[in-house]
Amino acid sequence: MRALWLGLRAIIIKDIVVELRARQVLPTMVVLGMLIVFILRMASEPGSTAAGGTVMGVAALWIAFLFSGLLAQERSFAAEQQNGCMDGLLLAPLDAGTIYLAKLLANVIMLTIFEAIVVPIAILSFNLHVTGGWLRLAAVLLLGNLGISSVGTLFSAAVQLTRTRGSLLSIIVLVILMPMMIPATFALLVLFGTMPVETESLASLRGSGTLAFVGSFKAAIGYMLAFDAIFVVACWLLFGVVVEE
């Protein structure tokens, strides 16, 4: 147990220190995120109503998240590959699963720093009102963060040797994360006040039976939690397969 913790800490600290010294990826992520927010703000200007603006704002947030997250994940194994560190990592007395968890946490931290900068910018530029509470907003963003990082870390290691590295990683992560985006968008729309948390009209749309919870914020969070749990565990288990020679 102690070895696990030591190994984890070592890799995470290594990644963060490398990033702090190189200062390459995080600024790129932040600028990319800001550009995406800016472009979508400009694109939504002509038809701008209050509700429409909120929808575009939520879309901009998640798109910026996804694409900057992809940048972060690509970095997490690209440097290893280029400098031959991958062999070093694998030879260390560490379980492959530990390497995965360490990289995952490093990516989550990077994305959190990103989100701390870009989310306020998005809120300001789209004039969003956080009616649902900042704590809930942080929770939703964290869950999204974990989902993106979990799948991205696994497949970033997988696509290192290909020519079209970045784009390949993009299509993989985007397709796997598609189902999470629906409740994620729903949750953010609720938090920013466009969609009522619980109303008559939504209640009328509900099906009956097992899926009767449709349309509530709690369900969206529950879904994202389940999604993250399933994928973190699955990717953790499968990471060893992906990196073995």
């Binding site: 799948v151 696994l154 497949f155 997988a158 696509v159 040797l161 290909t162 020519r163 079209t164 390949l168 299509i171 993989i172 397709v175 796997i176 598609m178 189902p179 999470m180 629906i182 409740p183 729903f186 969609m195 939504l202 749309l205 099906g207 899926l211 449709v214 349309g215 369900a219 969206a220 879904y223 389940a226 999604f227 399933i230 994928f231 699955a234 990717c235 499968l238 397969v241 992906v242 073995e244």
Partner: protein, 211 residues
């Protein structure tokens, strides 16, 4: 044997269409696309299950045959998913006058199609260094399959829900549908079988050339 399967599948499909259109015709005539739509949707999912089984089989045993079955079922599944989406869009246009809407079924079929597409692209892009490509594709196959039930549940969050209810008016309709499903299922099996044996011959040829 394979030819027999194909012929049988063809016969079943024609029979299903014939019976469906004559005896068991659904009243607004466009709805008859369902006779093509439903069997294909079932088969697209079935191919995914085969893909999962083959991926797990490959990871456990390491034999290349499993990997080839996975590729074959991904290709067949891709064809079925394309048909599923196309007929789904036609149905939605005929029924609700929109080509596409954020309805759970349409979203689910779209994501299924994307999953297959990414699998095939992954297959083509990875360098085929002995086992690496097969392994990574197998991993993707498993992760993608975990995605499918999640897609079903998440699609329910979309507020604007068209949920058509289907009930059978006459037993002929059920017969036509069952025939269609049997035919498409046989077609799927035959396609996967054919493709796998082709791939296997190709691999065998490569191996002989290298010696």
């Amino acid at each position: 044997m394979r030819r027999l399967l194909f012929a049988l599948a063809f016969v079943l499909l024609v029979a299903s269409t014939w019976i469906g259109l004559t005896q068991g015709q659904i009243v607004p005539v466009q709805r008859n696309i369902l006779y093509a739509h439903v069997p294909n949707s079932v088969c697209a999912l079935l191919c995914f299950v085969v893909l999962l089984a083959a991926s797990i089989g490959y990871l456990i045993t390491g034999k290349q045959a499993w990997d080839l079955v996975a590729v074959a079922s991904a290709e067949a599944g891709f064809v079925f998913a394309t048909i599923l989406n196309a007929t789904g869009m036609l149905f939605s246009r005929a029924e609700w006058n929109v080509w596409w809407t954020a309805s759970p079924r349409l979203v689910t079929s779209a994501i299924l199609w994307f999953l297959y597409a990414v699998y095939l692209i992954l297959r083509v892009s990875l360098p085929s260094s002995q086992y690496r490509r097969a392994r990574i594709c197998a991993v993707f196959g498993i992760i993608a399959f975990l995605d499918v039930p999640l897609v079903f549940v998440s699609a329910r969050f979309i507020p604007d829900i068209h949920r058509p209810n289907f009930s059978f008016d006459s037993p002929w309709q059920m017969v036509a549908l069952m025939l269609g499903m049997a035919g498409t299922g046989l077609l799927a099996a035959a396609l996967i079988w054919l493709r796998t044996s082709l791939l296997r011959s190709g691999v065998e040829l490569e191996r002989q050339l290298l010696q």
